[in-house]
Symmetry: D2
Subunit: 337 residues, 4 copies
């Protein structure tokens, strides 16, 4: 951490600050310039409150040179985290296809979709039971009943299930869920993150609509600092000025986060684009960018989907796409050194 | 609502769609053009799922012409909502100053600040007990103990209290709180909003960092549709590309929302700018823009604030500012017709 | 176009408006609702001024249902535009690799890079002579001398050249340039666009940092409406809140624009990410997303590059990447129906 | 400037770097940490190329601690710049009202508006002759003829004129213009800025739609570094996710830039909001935030304005607003210490 001091620094205050920093176990290296002086701090600054220091009268600015996350940081954990879910492994060079409908609607629908996506190569079933909706008047999901139907589909197909939790009180119903999803709007619901850190099921955190990589990793850190190391990151698009797509899928997140963290990184082209027509190209691009998996909406009757219809593929379209994605994944392996 | 059809529309599907819309109680007015046809819908479309319609094969696009919020809509509730809190009234031409520290730290601090801000003209006390922090390693607030200290300060000064709730399970501790604040990161925590709609205390909803006015009003609608009409909106800055301020205070929200909704609108220049030096100018500007109140951080020792220090004024600076703001509010009344 | 009228519409003003619209050759279809009426317009509305109509007392809002661009619109020009440059064709299923240094520095450098990238499979040479720099104190490019050196490299290798123009007065030096690039900051320099529309060399327009697809297509329309149909679009990343990449490459632009326009679409992963380490993944992803070509910075000594060094590959790295990209392009052809 | 080195730094490369920095006249202060070392640079780093340094193999990151602008920097020029235009002074505590139509349309219109706004207290006339329009099919302004009509209105009223230049070749027609405006889309048209720096008329630079304060000041620096110190900054709203206003007026720019620069700062609530109904509130707020002036669109017949109609006040509304703004400006002076 670097502390940039104001031009005319009170010597007494400066000594106080340096003393306080040394008490925290840090080495302090001053650089005195004509127009400005800086203090370079050496040691563990991850728990130092930048805002507090920035508020001091003699301080102009504070800049980190080290990442504020530890558990999620590849520097302290160089090996890829591989998460085992049923017979599937997420991370470590695998391509995990998680497919299923936006909303679970009824037994027939969810079982049929589960069977179809399994046949096409998906190794996990996704489906929404608790649905965050911008409008209180929109369909809010089947809730507990939806979770029951997902369990049925899991029993039928053997596919492990990923589904979204919206608040702490719902956790008791998630016994048969394999991966718990935290939605984009809850990425900084810190109480929910802590709760999910205190249990053992893998947690998949979707990136918030206007959040940075560092904020996202800090949300992973909330879960991990409570003891649960099984965290998956899911890029699902960020809000930009473009209105012809629902969001903008930021695929650079994949190679960049690969360097910053050891956690698996998944992409969701369905929510990101909001348009069926763009899903194949963006799913293909995500595989090319090195994603560990994809979350793809598949519905057996998109025109009757109760929510988020425009981003669901029919099973036949998914079948074609899944085959292409898996073939591409194999092809790219042959291109590596 | 307007449905724009694709260029070559299957006549049978079109008839199905028109029949379905009529079943929903809507009048359907088609406009047939050479390159494209549209359907104009007349009636209550607020509960119609735009995504569902947009997903149909024959539909190119759907556009609303009516606002999707009802309870919060000034069209159906022309009179200003005025919220009574203790002896104070929020809305209806009053200027309510809510002041206090970012975090409650100890009895001495909170009582002293409460007394100081009351003497300067504040009519509500703000203070954080449960604190949302980006990092799990940052100070998370005193929690229940913080609420107890706020009660003490309220008893000492008579000032009603506004403080933030972070999750449902905390509500049981909010008995002595007067206005419950929902933070920016929880603006779309729909379960929390519904819970707060099912109780009677006023709810102040901060605008999310990247949310639109309509999304914000839909969050108010979540509370109101459950039966609680006492909602206050608080503009606290949005995320922009500028990094020299913490966020960008969007003051146009005040006059614009005044037309869209009957709910009171408050501004928070402290969080928005993140810089003490900008608070006086931005608070003054908010009053000039017609705000119903201000949320201002005041700390008796800003350089020791446990969090968000850079945005807290000392009581003396607040005193000077409060007098200026109240004088300006009076002056502006004399300038109206 | 749809005109949404205010709730209480003056009948006389409405008749005036409808008369004026009919004079413009449009059919007007009114839909009268209880709370609001709308006018649906049928005919060529592309030259109608939405702002003017929106400013009328009786109008609440105006919405387009048709794209405001004609020449660039795939609806009126279903076949892909293929642009011939030397022996290369841009568009129509080809993958054009345009490679070279950010800045032309000297003869030795530009000739050596040109020879290297040609050997690796590039079919166009890129290189900056006139450089837009945020700071007046940064290196501004070699200017005319840079263009002369590009000509030399073209003579040596036969590679056609693409380079940036910054203002009208420079055009006279572009005789030996094959494709004229308009930079992101000049995307809405409308005078420059018109000038480039009145000559015949192909124009490559980079997307502005905060511009929408429609604004970008309108910039293409500026060139095309003056008579030059040879326009290439280049996605080079948009500004977002993320600071760890220079910009965010919006790859969804590729499949989405493919539907909207017949013009070729190129991606620039170097400028977009600003980091060498991300270029291979993002270039690969762009090919997977269906790009018509890539603009890649290659420098024979990145650590001495005079500008934009962090985004330049060395020739050996480019060689490896180019072979992978061309192999992927072939592989993806085998995956189509 | 601070250079953050990679974890394992080659000693030889490090010595080369330190030697090169010292050759540039800088003092280099190393801070060696366990996980990372940093170099603190003391001296004039404004002309050092950050990108070049960041591209070096041994460098992880480079951070500025000093502003990259000199001429525009208040640190080196503590007194406010006051710009004299005719009998008016911009800056230094004055409130300059610049009013007039978006587009000059004809003699009658521009003279009538000029007379009206002068009577209401405006001391400068604004009006567009060369108009940047997103669409090539929209009205592009009267051009040279518009400038001639502005001269007529100036002769009639004595009001100095501010109007926009779009490209270098237009400068020859600006002889009778008093302040040359650079539009938001040209804020980084660096060639145009240099040209305007080489002449003596004051230049008003509008902030780009997605530009930061620092980029804006660097654009001022482009003009000033060529010798023209008469630069005015104009905040006209930035692009955000909100679609109900045209842009978001960032009033915090006013107090913040006041600290960073000595140049006058003007606000344009008309373009920023794009809605007549919001102009009075936002103009009032801008005065409260400490603006040096306002650019307000006034049209004698808003419903017939050829462009940007929705943001023009009628003269009667401007008269009322101008009186309120000038009274508020006087009132606020009485509130200062």
């Amino acid at each position: 951490m670097i502390i940039i001091l104001k031009q005319k620094t009170d010597q007494h205050q400066l000594e106080n600050l340096m003393g306080w920093l040394k008490e925290k176990g840090l080495e302090v290296h001053p650089t005195v310039g004509e127009s400005r002086s800086i203090l370079g701090l050496v040691g563990d600054t991850s728990k130092l409150d930048m805002d507090l220091i920035a508020s001091l009268d003699i301080v102009e600015n504070v800049k980190r040179v080290q990442e504020p996350y530890k558990n999620a940081n590849r520097k302290f954990h160089p090996m890829d985290t591989v998460i085992k879910v049923g017979n599937t492994q997420i991370g470590g060079g695998n391509l995990t296809l998680m497919a299923g409908p936006c909303s679970v609607e009824n037994e027939e629908q969810i079982v049929a979709v589960a069977q179809a996506v399994k046949a096409s190569g998906a190794t996990m079933l996704r489906g929404g039971a608790f649905k965050p909706r911008t409008s209180p008047y929109a369909f809010q999901g089947l809730g507990k009943e939806g979770l029951r139907l997902l369990s049925l589909a899991k029993k039928e197909t053997g596919l492990p299930v990923v589904t979204e939790i919206m608040e702490a009180s719902q956790l008791e119903y998630f016994d048969d869920v394999d991966v718990i999803q935290v939605g984009a709007r809850n990425m900084q619901n810190f109480n929910l993150l802590k709760l999910l850190g205190s249990q053992k099921k893998p947690v998949m955190i979707k990136r918030g609509l206007a959040n940075t990589y560092e904020e996202w990793l800090m949300s992973a850190e909330y879960v991990m600092s409570e003891g649960n190391e099984n965290v998956i990151l899911c890029e699902r698009g960020i809000r930009t000025f473009e209105t012809q797509t629902r969001n903008t899928l930021d695929l650079a997140a994949i190679p960049l986060l690969r360097n910053l963290t050891h956690l698996p990184i998944i992409a969701d082209p369905s929510h990101a684009t909001g348009k069926i027509a763009l899903i194949p190209a963006m799913a293909t691009a995500a595989v090319a960018a090195g994603t560990d998996g994809l979350l793809i909406e598949v519905h057996n009757d998109p025109t009757k989907a109760l929510c988020d219809g425009p981003q669901s593929l029919r099973p036949e379209a998914f079948d074609k796409l899944a085959r292409k994605l898996l073939a591409l994944h194999e092809f790219l392996k042959t291109q590596e050194d």
